[in-house]
Subunit: 305 residues, 4 copies
C-alpha cells in the first residue's frame, strides 16, 4: 500500500497545476498550490500516507459531514429531513436562486451551504459556544485526535467575507425555513468551516464512517451505524458539489470535498481515504486530489459503485 | 372636479373589499381596509380631494421615487444607471433569483427593493443620519409640507421583520454590486419606507413631477426638469410592481404605488393625483386606488398613453 | 422638418457601425450594415423622409403589432388578455425558461415570441391562408399601401431555421396555453415576420396609431381608437425587447422594433416615425435607428413621456 | 427468498393506494393501480418472483438505461459525455428551464428526457428503423427474452401527446446541442419508451448489470464491465428522477424507474431486482415498488450504499 500511495502521489502531483488555490477567503489564498498528500486508514487501525499528509489545513465544507452526523445523532433523521432535502442540485453550492425557485424554500441537501446553515441552526444546544464545542468534539472523536481545533485566522477571514452566506441565511430566515439568530448561527458555521485537520486525521474520520461509526483507532462508537449509512449515501450523491455525478462515475466512492483542498472519502467495511491539495478545479474540488482518487479507483479497484 | 372625485370615491369604495391590508409588516396590518381617499393637485396650485385624503400613512415604496430623485440630482444619470438598470421585471419586488440569474448582478430598476437599496447606498452623504435627513427634506419640498416625518413604530416594525431585504442587501454586497455597511444602508432604507404623508401631500408631489420639478404650491424648483422626466418614464414602466404593464394599458399614467396603500401619479403639464386605500390586491397595489385611477382614465380621459 | 431629418440621419449614420446585422436567419444577413433611413408621417397626411427610407425590408417583430391589432379587433381585449399577459420581462424575446417558471405558463406579453405565437393561434379564421391574408390586409390598410407583401426568401429562411420558435410553440401546446396545429400556426407566424415594408410605409402605420386608428393618407378607420390606445401602451412598456425601459427613459415614445432593422414609433395626436437600419445592437434593436429616435427626442422634443 | 418476496409484496400492496396511475399518456391510464409484483434474479441464474411479476408493461424511462448502454458501447464514454453531463438535477425530468439556464445548453444527465433524446440522436445507425431495432435487440439480450417488443398502442399514444418532448428536442436542436431530424429522433424515443417487458425480464436485466454485463441466464457478455459500471453509477445518482437522493439514502441501490410502473435495480456481484406497480408517487416513481425496495434494504440488508 505504501508503494502504491507513493507512486500515485508522484504521478498526480503535476495535475495540481491545472487548479487554483481558493482566493475568495483571503486566508485560503496562502495555500501552497503544489502541495499534495494522501492518507489511507483501514478499519483494522493501519494508516498509510504519502506526500503532504501531515500538513494541517481547514476542512471547510468537509465540516458539513461532521455537523450532519451530530444533528442526526441528536435529533434523528425525521426532524433533520423535515427541514432539509436529500437531492443533489446542479447549481453552485451557494445558490439562492435554487432556493427561491422551489416551494417550500427548503435547502435541497445538507451539503450545500444553505443546507448546512440550517443543520447548524437545528443543533439542540443552548448557546453558540456549546454548538461549536460539540462539533469540534465530534470531529476529534471521529478523527481520533484530541488536539483538533479551529484556525482563528481563517475563521475571522470567513466571517469578514461571508456576505453571501449572510444572504442565504437571511433568506432562509425570512421564509421561516430557519429559526434563530442569524449572526449567531453563522458564527458557528464560519467556525466549523475553519476546523483544522490533516489528511491523516481525515482518513481516520473516513475509516470511522467505513466501520459503521466505530473509530478503528480508538475502538469507540462515535456515531451509530444508521447515521454512518445515511451520511455515506449523501456523500455519494452530493459530496463533491456539482461534480458529484461525475465523481460517482469516475471514482465511485462516498466522498466530501472542501475548498481548503481536502477530500475525505470512505470505502464501507474497508477503509477511509483522504487527500490534501489546495489547488482547486473550477467546481471547487482539489484538482490533484480528484486525480488521486481516480487512480485509486481505476488502477487499484478502490471503489464502491 | 370636486363632484367627479366625490362620485368616483363613492363608486370605487366597494372595490376595497376585494383587497387585503398588508400583514407582513405588523404595523401595516393596523390599516383600515375600508378607507379610500383621493387628492388632485393641478399645476396652478389648486387642490381637490375626497374621502380619506387627509389620513396619514407610510408611503413605503413611493419613497423610492424621492430617493431616486435625490440620487439623480446629486450624482447624475450616468452614475446611477451604471449601478442600476432601467428594465421592468415580471418577478416580485423582492426577488433575489432575478438578480442571481443575470450577470452582472445589477438590480434591474430603481423601483424594486434591490434597486432602491443600491440607490440609498449611492447617496453621497457622510453618514446615515444625513442621508435620511436629505430624503425627508426632499419629500417635504416635493410635497410642500414641512412637517412630514418618519413613523417610528412602522420603522421599527420594518427593521425587525426586514430579513428578506437583508438577504437582498448582503447578496448585492457579496457580488460587489453595492458598497458600504449593509445594516446602515438598510436603516436608511427602512426609515425612508416609513415616511408618513397624506394623499393630499402625495398629490402635490405628483404635481411637482407634472410641472417638471417646480412645486406649484411653493413655486420652488425642487428637482430639475430632466430628473422629473426620467423618473416619470420609470414610473410608467416599473411603477406598480409586476402590474406595471397592465396599469399602463388600463390607466396610462406614470404612477408609483406602496404597500401602505398609497398611489402617487402624475399627468405631465397638468396635475398630480394620489389615492389612499390600504386594502391591497395580490400584487401589492391598492385595490380601491387602482380602481379610482382606472375610472379617472376611462371616464374623465385623465391619461397620458 | 426635412432639414431636421437630413441632419439627424447624417449625424447618426456613424452609429450604425456599432451594431451588427442579424445572422441567425440567413436571409437577414444580407442587409447593408451602413444603411440608415427615416420617415415621418404626420396625421394631416404629410410625409417627410431622409436616407434609405424607401428600401424594403422585412418587418420581423413589428408584425406583432399588426397581428395584435387584428386579434384585439376580432376578439376583444378580454379574450386576448385571458391568454397573454401585459407585463414586460427582462428576459430575451425567445425565453422558454420565463414561461416554465410561472404558473400558468401564459406568455407575459404579446410582443415576445411566445405571446405573438399565441396571438396568431387565437385569430378566428378557418385556415392558415385566411389568417395570413387578414394580417397582410391589415398591414396594407395601416400603411396605406396595397402592394405590401411577403418576402418568400426570408419566409423560407425563417421556416428552415425556426427551431427555437418550434420549441416555444410545442411548450405552449403541451401546457394547454395554446390550441391548434403547431406547424400551421408557426407557418403564419413565419410569414407575418416576413412581411416587407419601407420606413415610409411604417411611418404611415405609426401615424395611423397616432390618429387613434384612422389612416391619415386614406382617411379610413382601420382599427378602433381603443385598440390603438392599448397597442400604444404595450409599445411603451414592451416594444423594444429587454431595452424597453431604457427606450422609455431615453426616447419616451411608444415604439416597436424588429431584427430586420426597422423601428416603428408613434406620437399620439401628432405623427408616426419610422427608421430603418439593419445593424443591430446587442438587444436586437437597430443601432442607428435608436440613435435617430434619441436625437429626435432630445433635440426636437418629439417625445410623449 | 421466495417467502421473503411473498411477505414483502403482501406487506407493501396497501402502499399502492397512496399513488396514482399516470394519465398524461392516455394508454398508461389503463394500468391497474392495485397491481404489485417483484422479481429477483441472482447472478447464478436463479429467479424468484411474487405478485404481478409476469404482467407485461411498457418500461418508459427504464429504456433510457438500455439506450445509454448501446450508445456507450457504440461510441465510448468520451463522445457520449461530451454531449451529455453526469449530474443530477433537482428539477422535473422534462424541464426546459434547467437547460436554458446553463451554458452550454447540454442535458445534465442521460436519464432526464433531454439527455435521453440526445442519446438517441447520437446512435450511429443509418436510419431510425435500425436505431430502434438495435435498442430492442439489446433489451432482448440484457433480459434474455427474444420476444420483447414494442407496444404500438402506447407508442402511438406517446407520439400523439409528446409535445413537451418536441419542445425539448427543438430547443436542443436550436442550440446545436443536438443534430438530426427532430421528428425521426423522437419517433425512436417514443418507441423505446414503449418497449414492453415484465418484472421478471427487468430483473434479469438488473442481474446482467450486476454481473458486469454478462447475462446470467444466457452466459453471454452483452455489454462490457466498464459500461455496466458507468451505468450503475448513474443509476445511483440520477435513476429515480428528483427522488434519486432520497432513494440512495433509504434504499441504497442503483435503480431506474419508469412511469409505466417499473423499477429495475441491481446489486453488483449479487442480483437484479425489479418491481412492477403502476400507481405512482408525486415524482413518478412506483409507490408500491419504492416501498418494496425499502423493505428489502432495511429488513434484508439488500443494499450497496
Amino acid at each position: 500500500m505504501q508503494d502504491i500511495l507513493d507512486n500515485i502521489v508522484e504521478a498526480c502531483r503535476p495535475y495540481c497545476s491545472t487548479g487554483h488555490v481558493a482566493t475568495y477567503i483571503p486566508e485560503l489564498s496562502k495555500g501552497d498550490p503544489t502541495a499534495l498528500g494522501i492518507s489511507v486508514a483501514d478499519i483494522k487501525g493501519n494508516i498509510y500516507s504519502s506526500g503532504d499528509a501531515d500538513h494541517a489545513f481547514t476542512i471547510q465544507s468537509i465540516s458539513k459531514v461532521i455537523t450532519l452526523c451530530l444533528a442526526l445523532t441528536e435529533l434523528g433523521e425525521d426532524i433533520v429531513f423535515s427541514k432539509i432535502g436529500f437531492e443533489a442540485v446542479a447549481d453552485p453550492f451557494n445558490s439562492i436562486m435554487r432556493l427561491e425557485m422551489d416551494n417550500p424554500h427548503r435547502p435541497h441537501n445538507p451539503f450545500i451551504n444553505s443546507g448546512s446553515i440550517v443543520t447548524v441552526s437545528l443543533l439542540p444546544y443552548s448557546d453558540p459556544e456549546e454548538k461549536i464545542e460539540a462539533i469540534v468534539d465530534l470531529a476529534r472523536e471521529m478523527a481520533g485526535n484530541n488536539i483538533i481545533s479551529i484556525n482563528n485566522d481563517v475563521y475571522f477571514s470567513e466571517k469578514f467575507t461571508g456576505d453571501r452566506n449572510r444572504a442565504l441565511a437571511y433568506f432562509l430566515k425570512s421564509n421561516s425555513s430557519m429559526d434563530g439568530d442569524v449572526e449567531e448561527i453563522l458564527d458557528v458555521y464560519f467556525k466549523h468551516c475553519s476546523i483544522e485537520m490533516t489528511a491523516r486525521d481525515l482518513s481516520v474520520m473516513g475509516a470511522t464512517l467505513a466501520a459503521d461509526g466505530i473509530n478503528p483507532m480508538t475502538g469507540r462508537e462515535v456515531i451509530s451505524a444508521d447515521v454512518a449509512r445515511v451520511v455515506r449515501a449523501l456523500m455519494v450523491t452530493c459530496g463533491t458539489y456539482d461534480g458529484s455525478g461525475e465523481f460517482a462515475v469516475r471514482v465511485g466512492l462516498p466522498a466530501k470535498s472542501g475548498v481548503g483542498g481536502g477530500i475525505m472519502s470512505t470505502l464501507p467495511g474497508r477503509m477511509g481515504i483522504a487527500t490534501y491539495g489546495p489547488a482547486l478545479d473550477f467546481r471547487g474540488n482539489s484538482a490533484g486530489g480528484i486525480k488521486v482518487m481516480e487512480m485509486l479507483s481505476e488502477e487499484e479497484g478502490i471503489r464502491l459503485l
